[in-house]
Amino acid sequence: MSKLYTGAEIVFKCLEDQDVEFIFGYPGGAVLPIYDELKNHNTIKHILVRHEQGAGHAAEGYARSSGKPGVVLVTSGPGATNVVTALTDAYMDSVPLVCISGQVPTHLIGTDAFQECDTTGITRPCTKHNWLVKDIKDLSKTLHEAFKVATTGRPGPVLVDIPKDIQFAKIAYSKPKAEKKLNGKLLNHFSQKDIDILIGLMNKSKKPIIYSGGGVINSGPEASNVLRELVKLTGFPITSTLQGLGAYPGDDNQFLGMLGMHGTYEANNAMHDCDLLINIGARFDDRITGKIDEFSPKSKKVHIDIDPSSINKIIKVDLALVGDVKEVLKGINKTLKKKNLDLKKSNKQQIAKWWEQIQKWRTKNSLNFKNSDETIKPQHAVQRLYELTKHKDTYITTEVGQHQMWAAQHYKFNKPNRWMTSGGLGTMGYGLPAAVGVQIAHPKKLVVDIAGEASVLMTMQEMSTAVQYNLPIKIFILNNQYMGMVRQWQELLHEKNYSESYTEALPDFIKMAEAYGCKGIKAEKPDELDEKITEMVEFDGPVIFDCRVDPNENCFPMIPSGKPHNQMILGPSEKEENKITGKGKALV
């Protein structure tokens, strides 16, 4: 007879079989048997966070920067409810997470027992799938299936809820069997014919643009390489969504910068005027499209995505290639080369005018801002941070708000997986715990959280985690004492009624850093900025950097809500003529 294992042992055997190295978690009554078993498995390291939301975001940072699924372990009731924000965040941004939660013993389920909640019920809409394991026989199969669901197709979070009695129950362990297809959910639906049609469109196009997204990052580093090859082969301009930054080098001449609400003038106008739009791994999010009716009105639209439900969800497209970005692009590149269609040459004449137009838009220099000798401009701070860290392989996380957009605009990424930000859900408090996860995955690399003072206070407790594990993360706070993006919208939409968007009684971040046992640095004047940033980068340990920036700066350029791409506000002086009116006011 084969050896019997407890449920808790089986959890670890499964994690070992899945090559899991790190678990982000927080113990509690309903997961004690699993925590008890931890000591017997030295290939798996547990990272103790200070709040379960932090565990979730740290696992997201780990997953996004490493390409491996993040694993979270929490207890029942509040443990599970605290992780819901992170699960939803991962669901919106397609990050593979496996969350294991404890549950009250099966005989107590439904009795309103202590720390009981309907975890699978609560997390059903914010996971790809979830399971309540009511029988020890199902445990190993379920856990292996959980990893499979999280990492195949469009990645996303899953949750496995394990009652305490199941963790104690004993059974023989069986290794995962040969993989069977999940209810016939195929990944690649495109054919050579589709590729030929696409190449025909590319050949004819006079004003093409490639718009790439997070799907390229999720498809793996090789997808970025094939994307770069495609852009070089075609000579087409390329723009990227927030999540897609890094897939194509940010300082390359064919790159027009980010598009969308706070994207560049040239990217948005090119999207509006193009005659061929090739969407690669993006989902026509409302931050990108602006007004739907007037979105890229003159173009043929092509959509490459692994998720069939993304096709025609928001924008009707003329050609859809459903599949893994890497595979689709490989097919396109191969055909391009085989046909010996040197699009770059043959199209050069055709699209030369288009590039001329793009250069004209570029001269607007839409990311420009008025710098100052008196106060630190937040854009300037990000630019200096970029200049002083670009020679290193730096990983950047952000919170959510103005600082996030400034980071996206002014920090240039050259590699995928270096940029971790909460795009879909827009979770303030994401960046600090995400930085913890990134640093765990890349212990020798420089990890900076470009933060706002309001966001960072939401998950500040995770500094304690960083100190415990000697994680030298740098929290670079652009401190303007406002919830800057809220204030900006109040300025634009609510006649400068800054209702509750100013934070009085902010903590002294230097003393706070010291209290946590890390280093605090403060910069107040532009001329001390470089020196202080260098000090931060060179310090071997976690740092909280309080960068006091101009409190009144707004984030431009901007497509006001309810407006199309070609009606951008470029700077503060233009605000008046481009007032948001009518329906636009009700939009988010």
């Binding site: 209810n183 439900s309 928001i314």
Partner: protein, 182 residues
């Protein structure tokens, strides 16, 4: 119906809504109905009626039949989103006016009154395969199988004959001929 999309996608072009019958084959496991129904409520889609039961005990497969209304784009999204759910095997979609598909609903009517009234009620029900399930001196329980609008009409008509209670199922559907949906 609440608009299921972002506020940005409020389109000025109004597309026509149609009634569709969506048939979903799922693993019969805990919570599977909640997943399907939650998808509809979470994304703001309509459910007009719903019928669920296990159809293959050996493979443990249930068949869910949902009647819904939406524009072609919404109906497409419903199908694609359903197909993404892990326990879903396949999804079929029929228009209500599809001649190649049979739709049926069942209703139970309880009629209370004197003999004449009950008799009239039974006669009125005749063309819908009426079956008397229970009979007392003062009451009858009549079962009919018919289309939704026919049952609606009967429920209204029978009021004058002493109808006191109505219980009805959601629609179930099957294709005509020897073809099976795959």
């Amino acid at each position: 119906m609440a608009n299921p999309k972002s506020a940005y996608s409020v389109s000025s072009k109004k597309e026509k809504s149609d009634t569709h019958i969506i048939v979903v084959w799922v693993d019969n496991e805990a919570g599977v109905l909640a997943r399907v129904v939650g998808l509809f409520s979470g994304r703001g889609y309509n459910i007009e009626s719903l019928a669920v039961a296990e159809v293959d005990a050996k493979k443990s497969i249930s068949r869910i039949t949902i009647v819904t209304t939406g524009t072609p784009q919404v109906i497409d999204q419903i199908k694609l989103q359903l197909k993404k759910l892990v326990p879903v095997h396949k999804v079929a979609d029929f228009k209500r006016n599809d001649k190649g598909v049979i739709f049926k609903e069942m209703a139970l009517f309880k009629v209370v009154g004197n003999n004449t009234k009950i008799k009239k009620a039974i006669i009125a029900c005749k063309k819908y395969d009426a079956v008397i399930l229970d009979k007392t001196k003062k009451s009858n329980v009549i079962q009919i199988t018919a289309l939704r609008r026919e049952i609606d009409k009967m429920a209204k008509n029978l009021r004058k004959f002493g109808l006191v209670s109505v219980s009805r199922t959601g629609a179930v559907a099957m294709t005509r001929g020897d073809k099976v949906f795959n």
